[in-house]
Subunit: 267 residues, 2 copies
């Protein structure tokens, strides 16, 4: 009767009180799970968290053995995962999952349970801003058959995009996210700087940026590519490159990325 079991929901302890912890707790509760406790090493943060409509017990004690929960989800900074996992005392047979895109499953190796796993939501969360969790891809990795089954049930109870991946694949996803998201965002910072040093506002570009990304998502970035490098408009490329000579590093980025686009679209 797995269906009946799922409907009843899991009892879950949340380790951490940041944005990821908050959004996961909120969505898990909305899907019929129960948040039993919220742990933070600073008790005030744990208490603050439970003020947000959670019936959870706030705690800063490592010893969670008396907590009525079968799953503990860690949403804390990458660097703290190993230490906190080693210090927690969890109920027998409890499952412990971390939510990091970069840390291996083995970061939970010192926990007092073998039921460890990774429960990695491929999304950025902002406090107070709703996210449609059903569309967020969850990348899962499990140590035991039992934790695999639990991870799968947990993830599919809130998302339609559930993928089991291994640590190598997770590293590849993280690298591609750095390029697609962090680097794109920085391109906007550079553009903002260029505009502002000429007394114009980045606001001017916002509608174009938004539509560019919508298009890339709708038809794929290759089909959506435009601009002088895509058109092999060498005259404009030269002119723009030369206009950047007061900022050597931006000029280098301009040259390298333009060259890569030129090469990318030539036979």
């Amino acid at each position: 009767m797995p269906q009946a079991k799922l409907k009843m929901g899991f009892k879950i302890g949340i380790i951490g009180t940041g944005n990821v912890a908050w959004h996961l707790a909120r969505n898990l509760e909305n899907s019929g799970h129960v948040i039993s406790c919220v742990y933070d090493r600073e008790i005030d943060k744990a208490k603050q968290f439970t003020l947000d409509y959670f019936n959870a017990k706030p705690t800063n004690k490592h010893n969670l053995i008396t907590i009525d929960a079968s799953i503990f989800i860690m949403a804390i900074s990458d660097d703290a995962i190993e230490e906190v996992a080693g210090n927690l005392i969890l109920p027998e047979e409890a499952h412990l999952f971390h939510t990091s895109g970069t840390k291996p499953l083995s970061a939970l190796g010192y926990a007092n349970t073998n039921n460890i796993g990774v429960f990695y939501p491929l999304q950025t969360f902002s406090k107070g801003k709703q996210t449609d969790i059903s569309k967020v891809p969850f990348c899962l990795e499990a140590e035991t058959a039992e934790s695999k089954a639990v991870l799968s049930k947990l993830a599919t109870s809130i998302s339609n995009e559930v993928h089991f991946i291994d640590s190598h694949q997770r590293a590849v996803i993280h690298l591609s996210a750095v390029v697609a998201c962090n680097f794109s965002n920085h391109m906007m910072s550079i553009a903002k700087g260029i505009l502002e040093s000429n007394e114009m506002s980045f606001d001017l570009l916002k509608p174009l940026v938004a539509e560019t990304i919508n298009k890339a998502i709708a038809i794929g970035p290759e089909a959506a590519q435009t601009g002088p490098a895509r058109r092999k408009d060498l005259e404009t490329l030269d002119k723009q490159y030369n206009s950047l000579q007061n900022d050597e590093n931006v000029a280098k980025i301009y040259e390298l990325v333009s060259q890569h686009i030129l090469d990318y679209y030539s036979e």
Copy 2:
């Protein structure tokens, strides 16, 4: 009575039949202007265009002297602007505007009118996809006081974001758009390649990409910047850089952009 004049609308000739021509014509008509004619050197394209609910006369003749219009808007490829402008025979005192972000105002220098200007919508248009034109920034430049007045009326009749800029500013805007839009889009192509060469789909990243850009637009790209370079996580930077050694050019882009982010956020 400029208000009454505006309400009556202008009579406008459209030169070109691509996406920009189509969206401008549609939105101008919706705002009470009349599209008198549509020119394309291929008459079939002009005829096809008028099938889309325009009451305009399709033509492929350079001689437009009998057309009942006071404004002609050129939305054709950059390279064709000078030649077509030199060949058209426009009614006396007619205004001729081009819509290019890169070509100078003087590209219209051979036209048989002094009332020339630039009517540059800072947006990318897709056939069949509605755009809220009222939010599209229009960057205007005029040769005569009279064309300045007409440009201003025309632009404010469809958009709330109207800016007079000079040719230098337009070049700066275009450069910043290349960096913010074309380069960001290419970052997504690179990320897609990394995923696909590891048998994963770019679809995985789409929700994260969309939210990243929403955040950059909402709170500004500097505040929105995340990732290993922003965190000064040199271990992850090294690991990711080394994992790219099978693609030297992508590795170089990774190194250069990461270094720029590191430098950008250090005091």
